[in-house]
Amino acid sequence: MPDLPLAEAPARTASAAGGEILSVANLEAWYGESHILHGINFSVNAGEVVTLLGRNGAGKTTTLKSIMGIIGKRSGSIRFNAQEMIRTSSDRIARAGIAFCPEERGIFSSLDVRENLLLPPVVRQGGLSLDQIFDLFPNLKERLKSQGTKLSGGEQQMLAIARILRTGASFLMLDEPTEGLAPVIIQQIGHTIARLKKEGFTILLVEQNFRWASTVADRYYVVEHGKIIDGFANSELQANMEKLHAYLGV
C-alpha cells in the first residue's frame, strides 16, 4: 500500500478538532406505509470512524439513507455542522459535504469507469486528486475504459468509494463496504479506511462484520427495531462481546 500524500489534509482537519459534526435526534423514517425508524439518537465527532451494528432489517441502511435525504418520509432532527438537514433535499445535503456509498454500490452500467469516477461533482476544496485515488486503488487506473459494471465486485466497491473521495466531502457514509468480497479485498478496504481516517475524514460505517469493523472503528452503536439500543467505544469492545453476540445473534 503506497503512502498517501498528506498535502490536502489541512482543509479537512481544520474542522476536525474533534467536535460533534453530525447529531441525529429522534429520527423517524418511513418506506411508504411501513415505519422503519422509531427515534434514532446518536452523534459522530469530526475525525471519528463510527460503526452502526445490528441485524438485517434493523434500520442501519435506512438511517444512512435518511441522513442522505433519499428516504420517502422522515422526521426528527439531523444536524450536520450545526445545520438542520431534516427538510433539506439530497442534492443540497451532498453539497453540504456528506457523501454516500450505497450498499448495492450504485455503479452505473451506461458509464465507463472514468465517467463513474468523475460523476459526483466536486462540492468543496480538499478532495483527493485522481493521482491520489490511483495510489489508493491502482486497479482502477488500468480499467478506466471498461464499462462500470464489468468490474469485479471488489473493484466496483473500490470505485464506489473512490468516486466520493474526489468531491471534497469530509463526511463519508459507507454502507457495508465489505459485503460479498474476498478476504484480501476486505483487508485492502480496511487499510483504505484507516488511511482516510488519518487524512481527517469522518466516516459513518454500516457493517455486519464487527470483527473487521473493530480494526477501523472508534465507536459503535447497536441498532435494533429502528432504535439505537446501545453504544460503546472500541476499547470497550471485548467487555461488550457477550452482549454484542446476543444483539447480533451470532
Binding site: S90, A99, F108, E115, L118
Partner: protein, 287 residues
C-alpha cells in the same frame, strides 16, 4: 432509375424527421419515463413559430432554426414543471394520457385559428434551386435538411454519450436518486431534458415547414409513424433511434418505388414483426 433515386431522397428526408423526433422521444423517455404523445403537436408548434417569426416579425428562416426550438423548448419546460412533474413514479399510462390530452388541446387551438389547410413557408433564398448530380437532380433544400438533421442527431448523440453533462444524464436515467445524492439537481436536469427533446421536435418542425407547409395536424400525421419507429428501434438507445429513423425513412422510400401500395404500411408491418420477434426493439434494453 431517376424515380428510384428521387424516392430514396424522399425517404432520407422523412428519415431525418423520424430520427429527430424519435431521438427526442428516446431522451425524454429515458429521463422522465414518459411516452411523450405531445411530441407531434410540439413539432407542429415549431413550424408555426417559424411561420409567426417570418410573417409577424420578419425574422428569417436561419434565426427561426435557433429561436423556434428555444421558444417551444421553454414552452415544453413549463409543461414539465406544471404538469408532467406530478406524474413522477406513476405508471406510463398516466403520462401517455396526459401528453395525448395536451396534444389534442394544442392541435385544437391551432385548428381553431388556422383551420386544417396548410400555410405556405418559402424556402430561404440561399437554399433555393438544385444541383444536377448526374444520376439525379437534387433540390438543395432537401439535401440541406438531410445533412443538417444528421449533424444535429450526431451532435445530440455526442452530447449524451461523450460529455460530462451526458454522463449525468445517462447516470440519472439509471438511478436518479443516487445521482441526486451526489449533489446534482436532478429535477432541474429532468426539466432541461424535456426542453431538449421538445426543442429537437420543434427544430424538425422548422425544417419541414418549407417542404410540407405549416398545418395544425402536420404532427398528428407524422407522430403515428414516429412511434412505430420508436417501437422498432427500441426506447433505450440514442444511436439506435437515429439509425432506425433514417433506415425506416429509406425503407419507406424504397417501398414507394417497388410496391407503392404498401408504402404507408411497411413501417407498421415491420413494427409488428419486431414486436413478435424482439419486443424490446432492435436496440432497446429490457424494460
Amino acid at each position: 432509375m431517376q424515380a428510384l433515386y428521387a424516392q430514396l431522397l424522399v425517404g432520407l428526408i422523412n428519415g431525418s424527421f423520424y430520427a429527430l423526433l424519435s431521438l427526442g422521444l428516446a431522451v425524454i423517455f429515458g429521463m422522465l419515463n414518459i411516452i411523450n404523445f405531445a411530441h407531434g403537436a410540439l413539432y407542429m408548434m415549431g413550424a408555426f413559430v417559424a411561420y409567426f417569426l417570418l410573417n409577424l416579425f420578419g425574422i428569417n428562416y436561419w434565426w427561426a432554426l435557433l429561436i423556434s426550438p428555444l421558444v417551444v423548448g421553454i414552452f415544453g419546460m413549463i409543461l414539465e414543471r406544471t404538469m408532467l412533474k406530478w406524474l413522477t413514479g406513476l405508471d406510463h399510462l398516466y403520462g401517455l394520457l396526459l401528453t395525448f390530452g395536451l396534444a389534442l388541446i394544442i392541435q385544437g387551438v391551432f385548428q381553431n385559428y388556422f383551420g386544417s389547410s396548410g400555410l405556405p413557408y418559402s424556402i430561404p433564398d440561399q437554399l433555393r434551386g438544385g444541383m444536377n448530380l448526374g444520376f439525379m437532380f437534387l433540390p438543395i433544400y432537401r439535401g440541406w435538411v438531410v445533412v443538417f438533421s444528421l449533424v444535429v442527431c450526431l451532435a445530440t448523440w455526442f452530447l449524451i454519450e461523450r460529455t460530462r453533462l451526458g454522463a449525468y444524464l445517462r447516470a440519472a436515467t439509471e438511478n436518479p436518486t443516487l445521482v441526486r445524492a451526489f449533489g446534482i439537481n436532478v429535477p432541474r436536469m429532468i426539466t432541461l431534458t424535456y426542453g431538449l427533446g421538445v426543442g429537437l421536435a420543434a427544430l424538425a418542425g422548422v425544417l419541414s415547414a418549407p417542404i410540407n407547409q405549416v398545418r395544425p395536424l402536420m404532427g398528428a400525421d407524422l407522430i403515428i409513424v414516429v412511434f412505430a419507429v420508436v417501437v422498432i428501434g427500441g426506447m433505450g438507445s440514442i444511436m439506435g433511434s437515429i439509425i432506425t429513423g433514417f433506415a425506416l425513412g429509406v425503407i419507406e422510400g424504397l417501398t414507394k418505388y417497388f410496391y407503392p401500395e404498401a408504402s404507408n404500411t411497411v413501417v407498421f408491418v415491420l413494427m409488428v414483426l419486431v414486436l413478435l420477434v424482439k419486443p424490446t426493439g432492435l436496440t432497446g434494453r429490457a424494460a
